[in-house]
Symmetry: C2
Subunit: 598 residues, 2 copies
């Protein structure tokens, strides 16, 4: 190692020099579709396990990844594949956590797989290696963690195939895992993904050198594997990212040749060639089959599969990921949320497609850090809240007026769905004071991230979609804190909330307030104040309504398709502090209603 | 042919039995990258050419398509690939039009290409066939049309590679082509599309049987070609369509074998195998290279390439097409619109991805028919308007109030951009009465289709995006007819309109109308009438404003970044008929303003 490398690994925030280790399991290991007489796993660890064995984080790698997550190997310069995320003071902080990653069972970077020697034949297993499953990988990892004396996992984390392993972990060992970060994953492969994999497999098997899997190191199906990798590589990147990186740039193939090649063509060939050097064709066949057959939905549905999960789960999708789309990631969180588990869904706006999880991104790293910190409310979390683009304004102070009232209505241990939850203040407060189990919904990624920093489960997305996916009667309360005005056809949304929750709390600005009326009758214009902050030309469209209009809606026969009645109601005057008893439609600035399903 | 087939082809609406014909061009033909001593094209025609030779429609086929568009061949049962679109009484009506389609130059279904005999060597050209371009295909087609005594093309039409040919046609022969339908196409391949093609080519060239292109019929690179086709086939379908068609369904490979296969895998293998029977590997290499190198943007930009276009162009994208995306299709229409050409963009909501253009779809076929009919206003067009989900209501009658005023302001031969153009009534009227060249913008596909039926050029999409793509000062008028209320931050949109047009006409409901004020001051609620039709709970959010608020905005220093003044203004009373002179902010129901950039 030269001096520069030495400096490199000693610098602050780096785990430094690391050595792969070998775990040998010398007993028979029953896989889903076969038996191994024994197996081994290559793995690395970073940080120190605490005495209780409770500060471990397991990282699971993707299809073609390996155990080398962080730091550098002796004599090498390449850092681990998640080096920017794992290290002292980094998002996964090795000063606090003991981090483990193993090359998964069936892979080809040191763990037992198709390239290993089959004790029966004394030749490599090749295609005789049992058909793998994601569950096999997870069960083998558990044996490693037992060997390392880890008593429970503080968290498991992984992207892509690693995310599927993380998901399998919380199903297989629900009491062992406290948290799970499932990133850019899916509960099952779509037909399109299976199709892409099958084209790759056809290319490998169509290469004459594949020879039914019985190739030697000197005559491997390199062309078939390279084509498979080239194609798969396209699915890892977004259209936008490729366009930005390559566009239609051309390059000369060589000085002698006149032929031009697009830069993207050259890049793909390079990817294909590099891959065949480090990967094995039979392993690729086995691993892609394991992915295609991974199916947590099956005949009984995802909720059935996830019913025993106890971990706090955060699912993260990337906007431009078209391999494991945001919608597929969301399915996982939604199923857990339907089961009233502590589960969040966040969507990071990142241009790099599926591979975004491998690329350094401040928003993503902050999210990981905040999720691992949980509700610690440390300095970072506070900074987080300050950084949020919704700064504290007079209107934000006003906001707490309705949250106090609604918070008082909720009883201990009830379940609360907060639609338009913002930074999660209500739900955090209810958890701290009343042990309330809550779920927030907000469209904004910054706000959803602030919820994570408060340890509040959050669904980043559209309120109407969140409501429509939730089953009947799965919450005690559904809260709309001053956000009904933003919705198209809001009446239907309120009725849907009454399906999902027994009680619905709606707070709104009473548009019928006397000052508004006076101003409008005089000038014909909307008043301009704390509540109506912008002139029409700078406003987003709104559905303003009054107390009278709200009650008319509640009492209309059409609204009573789901029978409900108005319960408690609280009116505040224009200052949003003093309550107001009589003539509320004229005198109240803020109205808070409880609707109770009958 | 058996009786059933005979019946089949004689049925109403079918072109019946057809025979491919051969056009031989016996002179030297200069291609972009080489010379052919002669060439031939296989082609078919349907319908009859009129005496002037002016009723011909040329159809251009896609990458792996051919000249057999409609009807059946002797002894065959398979109908042409666009049989549902072409025939007597069909969207492309062979009772009125003479329809021509040729297998393109360089293809392998009878036209001269890599499988043809090279007169110099007396062997197939193979890879020695000159590198093809889309332009070569079009120039060869023109020689065929000259041979057929076609004096001008009523229309050219094509999807995918056919759309690129149609686009090349209006560039290459601007005076020869009156109309062009460019469907699911792109002005240039993206890096991602080039990448997919390059993987396919690598698979073919990696097949040892390819032998640098010197294969014989008995030993063709079938495996390489099949893999290329399988992969490409995935890009022709949408994720949703594949999911719906196959999902994760499994099937047994054979009774003997225990192995299961996903249905989508089996389907893809079938596609790959069928393809190698009918297609040639070298041809695939040459055609995909022609596509990758097709680039109408180049160094000087798409507008430069399209500057001489005279045809009326309709570009059609499909929502789920991820190969040639709606955005890529829109680029073509936008460039033409920036040049003030008669060009429309429509987006059909179809689930089948890129291949949607090959699949029977009523909306799409209606659009083709209406575009070809133009402004004929025949029975179908009238039905079209009736069918539109925006039926004639009292509010629609009211609508004409502002259109009459704005129509009067526009002078003959001016250029008008109508934002939120609805069914194109204003622009049709201005074209008929004042020879006005107009472009409508509307988000709604039904309304945009109604514009096509009126012969009005339309951009289906977001008003703000349409405005932002248009260059400064490219219209005399920009019209907002009662739609500003629907926009977020509408002030900025109006200012952008003043950049694009010298004059802006804005009509709006005066929210300060006395009845509104009286009602609101009394009840605190929005009045319910013709203008405010729905209660809050069924409304979309709106930015209502008054005459005073509008004028305040116009006069604000911030608005005057683009200096403009208020020109003419017309106020109508509550009935929207009688004009109103004094106290408009109180007495006017409708306001129409002219803003003039200084």
């Amino acid at each position: 190692m030269n001096t520069e490398d030495k400096n490199n690994i000693d610098e602050a925030g780096e785990v430094g020099l690391v050595h792969p280790q070998i775990f040998e399991y010398k007993k028979e290991f029953r896989m889903t579709h076969g038996v191994l007489a024994s197996f081994q796993l290559y793995y690395e660890t970073y940080g120190t396990l605490n005495k209780g064995g409770t500060n471990a984080i397991l990282i699971c790698h993707a299809l073609t990844g390996d155990h080398h997550v962080a730091g550098v190997h002796e004599g090498a310069t390449r850092k681990g594949w998640w080096n920017h995320a794992v290290g002292p003071g980094k998002a996964i902080d090795t000063d606090n956590f003991f981090v483990v990653c193993s090359n998964c069972l069936g892979a080809c970077q040191g763990s037992t797989g198709p390239t290993s020697i089959n004790p029966k034949t004394q030749k490599p297993y090749g295609m005789l290696f049992p058909d793998l499953t994601i569950k096999d990988m997870v069960v083998a990892q558990k044996l490693l963690l037992d060997h390392l004396k880890i008593s429970s996992l503080y968290s498991v984390a992984g992207g892509s195939m690693g995310g599927m392993q993380a998901l399998q972990w919380v199903i297989e060992f629900p009491k062992f895992v406290q948290r799970a970060m499932i990133i850019a994953a899916t509960p099952q492969h779509s037909a399109q993904t299976i199709a892409f994999n099958e084209v790759g497999r056809t290319s490998i098997k169509g290469d004459p050198k594949w020879n039914n899997g019985n190739y030697t190191h000197d005559s491997r199906p390199e062309m078939g594997l390279a084509v498979a990798r080239m194609m798969a590589h396209i699915t890892y990147l977004s259209d936008e990212a490729m366009e930005e990186k390559f566009g239609r740039n051309q390059m000369k193939l060589s000085v002698e040749e006149e032929e031009q090649q697009f830069a993207v063509e050259s890049y793909l060939h390079h990817q294909g060639l590099r891959f065949v050097d480090r990967f094995d064709a039979n392993t690729y066949l086995k691993l892609t089959k394991a992915l295609d057959h991974f199916d947590l939905v099956g005949e009984n549905g995802l909720e059935h599969t996830l019913k025993n999960v106890e971990a706090k789960v955060m699912v993260v999708g990337f906007t431009t990921d078209w391999l494991y789309t945001p919608a597929q990631n969301k399915m996982i969180a939604e199923a857990l949320q339907k089961l009233s588990k502590h589960a969040s869904y966040l969507e990071i706006d990142h241009p790099h497609g599926h591979d975004s999880f491998l690329i350094q991104s401040d928003n993503f790293l902050r999210l990981i850090k905040l999720f691992l910190k949980g509700a610690d409310q440390d300095e970072i979390a506070r900074q987080e809240i300050k950084k949020s683009r919704y700064a504290i304004t007079r209107a934000d102070v006003k906001k707490e007026a309705d949250l106090k009232v609604i918070g008082d209505w909720v009883k201990p241990n009830e379940k609360v769905l907060d639609l338009g939850c913002g930074r999660g203040i209500l739900l955090e407060n209810l958890r701290e004071t009343k042990n309330v189990n809550g779920l927030g919904v907000d469209y904004d990624c910054d706000k959803a991230t602030a919820c994570i920093s408060r340890g509040v489960a959050v669904y980043q997305g559209d309120i109407r979609k969140a409501l429509s996916m939730l089953p009947d009667n799965c919450f005690d309360w559904v809260v709309f804190s001053r956000m009904v005005e933003e919705l198209p056809e809001p009446g239907q949304v309120i009725l849907d909330a009454l399906r999902v929750g027994r009680r619905v709390a709606v707070s709104f600005v009473n548009h019928g307030y006397w000052e508004n009326r006076l101003y409008f009758s005089q000038y014909g214009s909307k008043i301009n104040n704390d509540v109506y902050r912008e002139n029409w030309e700078k406003s987003d469209p709104r559905n303003h309504f009054s107390i009278k209009e709200f009650e008319d809606f509640c009492l209309a026969p059409e609204s009573q398709k789901i029978p409900f009645q108005i319960g408690r109601k609280v009116f505040h005057r224009g200052n949003w502090k003093t309550t107001c008893k009589w003539l509320p439609n004229l005198r109240a600035g803020l109205a808070i209603y409880e609707l109770v399903r009958l």
